[in-house]
């Protein structure tokens, strides 16, 4: 049972380069989320997706692009990386039922991204 995985786990890149972080979940959860974790800020939502081909902005979406062509994958792309995007990125998924009961978010192990 793989659950939710992220790749790569560590990435170093340079300013201006495009970077894609991958997220894959095996639970068929409908909702998926991308967060960034920075000291002093906790976790902040970048983008989320309610289903395949449905995405929406979170609190800090600028500089990021997402897509969701398949339910199980939710890649996050930094189109032109900046130093301020150095962070730890977490993907999460959730089975949000109409009864709003099973809405716990389950997190991947994270990707530590450094932009030089």
């Amino acid at each position: 049972d793989a659950g939710i995985t992220q790749s790569p786990r560590y990435k170093i890149t340079e300013t201006g380069r495009q970077v894609t972080l991958m997220c894959h979940q095996t639970w068929s959860h409908s909702y998926m989320f991308w967060y960034r974790q920075d000291l002093g800020h906790g976790l902040r939502l970048i983008y989320y997706s309610a289903a395949a081909d449905i995405t929406d902005k979170g609190e800090v979406p600028d500089g990021y692009v997402v897509s969701r062509s398949k339910t199980e994958n939710f890649p996050l792309t930094l189109e032109s990386a900046t130093r301020s995007q150095t962070s730890v990125y977490f993907c999460a998924s959730s089975l949000l039922s109409t009864a709003l009961i099973s809405d716990t978010q389950y997190f991947g192990p994270g990707t530590r991204l450094t932009v030089l």
């Binding site: 909702y31 989320f33 967060y35 002093g40 800020h41 906790g42 976790l43 902040r44 939502l45 989320y48 309610a50 929406d56 979170g58 609190e59 977490f90 999460a92 959730s94 949000l96 709003l100 009961i101 809405d103 716990t104 978010q105 389950y106 997190f107 991947g108 192990p109 994270g110």
Partner: protein, 118 residues
């Protein structure tokens, strides 16, 4: 708008003593409340949640949390701390009364580092 405050950046407690990690929240409607734990170089792990019903919620690893609507608090507690409980703890809230597009978003606090001293 919803928000969460964890007033203590760090909590130190001796092994065997009771521990409390504080959390207060603000929502316009009714809250869903969550506690997550993060061990070094790991993702967040779900501990417990409050949706409705009994104000005392029991979760994983012997943790529990008490929902207090009048004080808008959801403090995490454990009767006897273990060294292995040392980690970063996050409180999170979602306003279940919000039917808008962002209603499925969780808002996290900044985290509290718990250190249990042997």
């Amino acid at each position: 708008a919803q928000s969460v405050a964890q007033p203590e950046d760090q909590v130190n407690v001796a092994e065997g003593n009771p521990l409390t990690v504080k959390c207060t929240y603000s929502v316009s409607g009714n809250p869903y409340l969550f506690w997550y734990v993060q061990y070094p170089n790991r993702g967040l792990q779900f501990l417990l949640k409050y949706i409705t019903g009994d104000n005392l919620v029991k979760g994983s690893y012997g943790f529990e949390a008490e929902f207090n609507k009048s004080q808008t608090s959801f403090h995490l507690k454990k009767p006897s701390a273990l060294v292995s409980d040392s980690a970063l703890y996050f409180c999170a809230v979602r306003d279940i009364s919000d039917s808008g597009a962002g209603s499925y978003q969780l808002t996290f606090g900044k985290g509290t580092k718990l250190s249990v001293i042997p």
